[in-house]
Symmetry: C2
Subunit: 132 residues, 2 copies
DNA sequence: ACAAATGATACTATTATGGTATCATTATAA
DNA sequence: TTATAATGATACCATAATAGTATCATTTGT
């Protein structure tokens, strides 16, 4: 049971590094040597962050990545959604079928209540709070 | 991102049914017709619950399953642990390696804090509260 | 033109989850 | 004592999600 996957984890680490070096464009090569993350994997990660407007990329020689948003506007919740889909803990296990039993729904309801606070806290964590 | 898997879900449903029929032993066949859960899968599920001391089984003709504990002593948290492993939301993504960077740990710390309440609520949900 | 960067994309590997099948064992009742 | 109906143990397969790799195309500064 994991709230964040490696994608998200790597993204956070890379973003923290980039946030600490905002005086320049950061290349994948630089990130790899500092963070020990597989290069191809990291490239995919950053490309997606670029597409989603979290990073801004510069192609060509002396290119690299910079933050596209201020540190306090990059939320962990958004990163989780980008790499792992909707931030929900109780996705119904019965895809299309109508849930045939009341217990299940009662279970779902209780999980909903229990997870509410977690989700709101996750939504409040931003990059700024992760780099100080 | 899911807090409970099908195993746990099925277990909850089966337990709810068994709890509502404590006057008799409940067979897998009966559960299958009532809950529409694949038979082999459900058998495995119940066998594990038996091993873990949540259900008590009776072999042989006219055998079946009964609760091994009172309804209010069967916790959702225990079921999750039985079928999905330790109830943690922040399992470190770096198996053996020492985490090489402080961000990751700060991230972990924050997730810890955010998930604390969820976990304690999950630990308070018992079978009794799921069948009324 | 070259070099160094990202973009796009396709492919593979591994793990977790979900599901099936089969033979062995047990206990009851006729 | 035998047939039957139940669980026990276990091995196997299928699918999906996650993790990771590789390659060619494109861009851009010198």
């Amino acid at each position: 049971m994991k709230l964040i996957t490696r994608y998200t984890d790597y993204a956070v680490r890379a973003l923290c590094y980039i946030a600490r070096h905002q005086d320049k464009k950061v290349t994948v090569t630089e990130l790899v040597t500092n963070l020990k993350i597989p290069k191809s994997f990291l490239r995919k990660t950053l490309q997606l962050l670029n597409k989603k407007g979290v990073l801004k990329s510069y192609k060509g020689k002396f290119g690299g990545f910079v933050l596209a948003l201020p540190e306090d506007k990059i939320y962990l919740a958004d990163l989780i959604e980008i790499f792992q889909g909707p931030l929900k803990l109780n996705e119904c296990r019965l895809k299309k079928a109508i849930c045939p039993n009341i217990n299940k729904c009662l279970l779902k309801k209780k999980i909903d209540i229990a997870s509410r606070r977690l989700l709101s806290e996750i939504r409040s964590i931003n990059l700024k709070s992760l780099i100080k």
